[in-house]
């Protein structure tokens, strides 16, 4: 007895309903995830974009013997508290470097105190009633403005929010990443080549393989402890420096690069290896001339992603002291240094409200760097992706 269409359709109804329900559940999950992302990014943008602008006011600056001795005297009493102390501090040096300034009085755009900045941005500020009137008047005359905050990208940390910048941390990140890559890339790639192309499949290589995979899953803070114990305490590498930070992150990135490289090597079709062996290549020639060129995009992509991971890492670096207060941008591997996520962490702990936007601004910069790194990885993959 065969069933009629109507009977079958009746049974199918339940199945269709079930699949419709499942579709809805998965779509809601996706929407929820997307919503979280949108909320996070827009929150960061709203909080962080103001950090890229900083208040400046136009005031009369008097260059005189007196201001050489006591910089605050260089500006009028009524705006003295509105000008950044950081700016005033630079006056004596400026006069020494440009003696022709001496004895002149100039109208200049100078960096405003962060309370003025916060006031102009509509945030709570510590300004007194009278000071607010002055700022309002300056603003009316076009002498108080929010301008692009170059300093945020060119200077290091400071206790004065209007002076604080991400550059020292960015330089620290670059130095640290250079160390990480110099260590990880050659070791990781050669290890993967050995395991994939040379080693015979025995218990030793299998054990190594399992351990490498496990290493990739170890919480990163443990690598920090390992770095502290080995590099700093045992080998005496100086604390807080890019070199020890890079070496520590290398522990973390190495398994990522090994795994990515092995995957890339494995995806090279064996027919290419056979062709190469067939014309009389040695094993190393097969790898160097035929396998590596094909798998290089995959290796680079994996390495960039590993690097991006390391770049966002904070915990292990806290352990080895890379959350230092670094006011100067230094391109040395052996000077105390900090990195971007650690800088963000430091700012997030500052009580001054003005640091809230610095924190978010730092996060935006870090995100931008990470996104461009990942975009580079995707681009590399797309550009060289070929099917053999």
């Amino acid at each position: 007895m065969s069933q009629s269409f109507d009977e079958i359709t009746a049974q199918l109804k339940r199945r269709h309903r079930k699949s419709a329900r499942l579709k809805w559940v998965s779509m809601s999950a996706l929407i929820l995830a997307a919503a979280f992302l949108v909320v996070f990014i827009s929150d960061m943008l709203i909080k962080g974009l103001p950090a890229f602008q900083q208040a400046q006011i136009q005031v009369e600056v008097t260059y005189s013997e007196q201001s050489q001795q006591m910089p605050p005297a260089a500006v009028n009493e009524d705006v003295r508290r509105l000008v950044s102390r950081g700016f005033l501090r630079t006056l004596p040096r400026a006069m020494k470097q440009n003696p022709e300034l001496m004895g002149t009085t100039r109208m200049e755009w100078v960096l405003a105190d962060s309370s003025v900045d916060q006031y102009l941005k509509g945030n709570h500020s510590g300004l007194k009633e009278s000071q607010r009137t002055v700022v309002d008047k300056l603003a009316e005359q076009g002498r108080a403005e929010l301008k692009f905050n170059t300093r945020f990208f060119t200077s290091g940390d400071s206790k004065m929010p209007e002076l604080a910048g991400i550059a020292a941390a960015a330089m620290g990140t670059v130095m640290t990443m250079i160390v990480t890559m110099l260590v990880c890339f050659p070791i990781g790639v050669m290890t993967a080549i050995y395991l994939e192309e040379f080693a015979t499949d025995n218990w030793l290589t299998q054990t190594i393989e399992i351990n490498i995979n496990n290493l990739a899953a170890v919480p990163s803070i443990l690598f920090g402890l390992l770095g502290l114990a080995i590099y700093i305490n045992f080998f005496g590498v100086p604390r807080s420096t890019p070199i020890v930070g890079g070496l520590t992150l290398a522990l973390m990135t190495l398994p990522v690069i090994i795994i990515a490289t092995r995957t890339a090597l494995r995806s090279v079709p064996d027919t290419i290896r056979q062709a190469a062996f067939g014309v009389g290549c040695s094993r190393w020639q097969v790898v160097r001339d035929h396998v590596l060129p094909v798998s290089l995009p995959g290796i680079l992509t994996g390495s960039i992603i590993g690097l991006a991971q390391a770049m966002g890492e904070t915990a292990p670096l806290i352990i080895i002291g890379m959350v230092a207060f670094i006011p100067d941008v230094s391109a040395s591997f052996t000077d105390a240094s900090t990195v971007m996520p650690a800088q963000i962490f430091t700012w997030a702990g500052e009580p001054d409200r003005a640091f809230v936007e610095k924190t978010a601004g730092g996060i935006l910069v870090l995100l931008a760097v990470l996104i461009s790194l990942n975009a580079t990885a995707v681009w590399l993959r797309k550009k060289f992706e070929r099917r053999w």
Binding site: Q274, G280, Q285
Partner: protein, 285 residues
């Protein structure tokens, strides 16, 4: 019972011919060149515990085409790989017996497999040009083996190899394009050109046309016919007509054994063993 009958049928006259001179074809084509290229004696090969070649004896003659035929899995590719030691790349392979070329056992410790592969080139079932330019595909190996030093010599060698492979006119204007951009048949001829560029003595071909259309197949068959003036060719084929068309000698393998080896005309007109006859007449897979 039936098996016994077959077995008896096989141990007829041809078997005795084998016994008297192992490895020699049952009948010898009088016009052909009979200088020995590769001599194989009592060759046994195991993949782990699985024996893939059983007591193979065969003489392969210079500047002839020798075709290996037989049902799938009978060991044709395995045998072919023994001739340039490509089996070295496979794990758990054990080889016993003699594969002799130019008076040397190719499996002896002193023999460098790279030296062997320079003299015994290979063309694979699926065209596998290097993912490099057409020019590089040819020039790579001679340069690696220091056969050429000057750029002009290299250009000349590339042109010669491509001409010999009948590909020159089709690719001479696009030598810089990737080898993989060619059609399947052209890719296979590129692979042949790559193999002959290092001037080997022997070229092994493992079902070189099985991935190609009939026209490309015919082109490659013509090419083999031409190339045998310079090279010894050992080819595996699934296609009986192809063996009949291109081969001077044909070897029939079955379950790892060399059942019959004869000059091609005799093999196809008058096979001496029942198994070969069944296979050739299409009664067997």
């Amino acid at each position: 019972m039936i098996n016994e009958q077959i077995a008896r049928a096989e141990t007829g006259a041809p078997k005795q011919a084998h016994d008297s001179s192992p490895g020699q074809p049952v009948r010898v084509n009088e016009d052909a060149n009979h200088d020995l290229s590769i001599r194989v004696r009592d060759l046994n090969l195991w993949y782990g515990k699985n024996q893939a070649l059983k007591n193979v004896n065969i003489d392969i003659f210079q500047k002839n085409v020798t075709a290996l035929i037989g049902p799938s899995g009978c060991g044709k590719s395995t045998f072919l790989r023994c001739l340039n030691r490509m089996n070295d790349l496979i794990k758990n392979v054990r080889i016993e017996g003699l594969v002799e070329m130019d008076g040397r056992d190719v499996n002896e410790a002193k023999m460098d497999e790279i030296a062997l592969r320079r003299r015994v080139g290979m063309v694979f079932q699926k065209p596998n040009p290097f993912p490099k330019s057409i020019y590089e595909n040819i020039a790579y190996a001679p340069r690696m083996h220091d056969l050429v030093s000057r750029k002009s010599d290299q250009d000349e060698l590339v042109e010669q190899a491509l001409r010999d492979a009948g590909l020159w006119n089709e690719v001479k204007d696009k030598l810089a394009e990737p080898g993989t951009s060619l059609s399947g048949g052209q890719q296979q001829r590129l692979c042949i050109a790559r193999a002959i560029a290092v001037k080997p003595d022997v070229i092994l071909m493992d079902e070189p046309t099985s991935a190609l259309d009939p026209i490309s197949t015919a082109t490659i068959e013509d090419l083999m016919d031409k190339l045998k003036q310079q090279f010894t060719i050992v080819t595996v084929t699934h296609n009986m007509q192809q063996a009949a068309r291109v081969a001077d000698y044909t070897a029939f393998f079955h379950l790892g054994e060399l059942i019959e080896y004869n000059d091609t005309r005799m093999m196809f007109s008058n096979p001496h063993t029942k198994k070969a006859e069944d296979y050739i007449t299409g009664r067997y897979g």
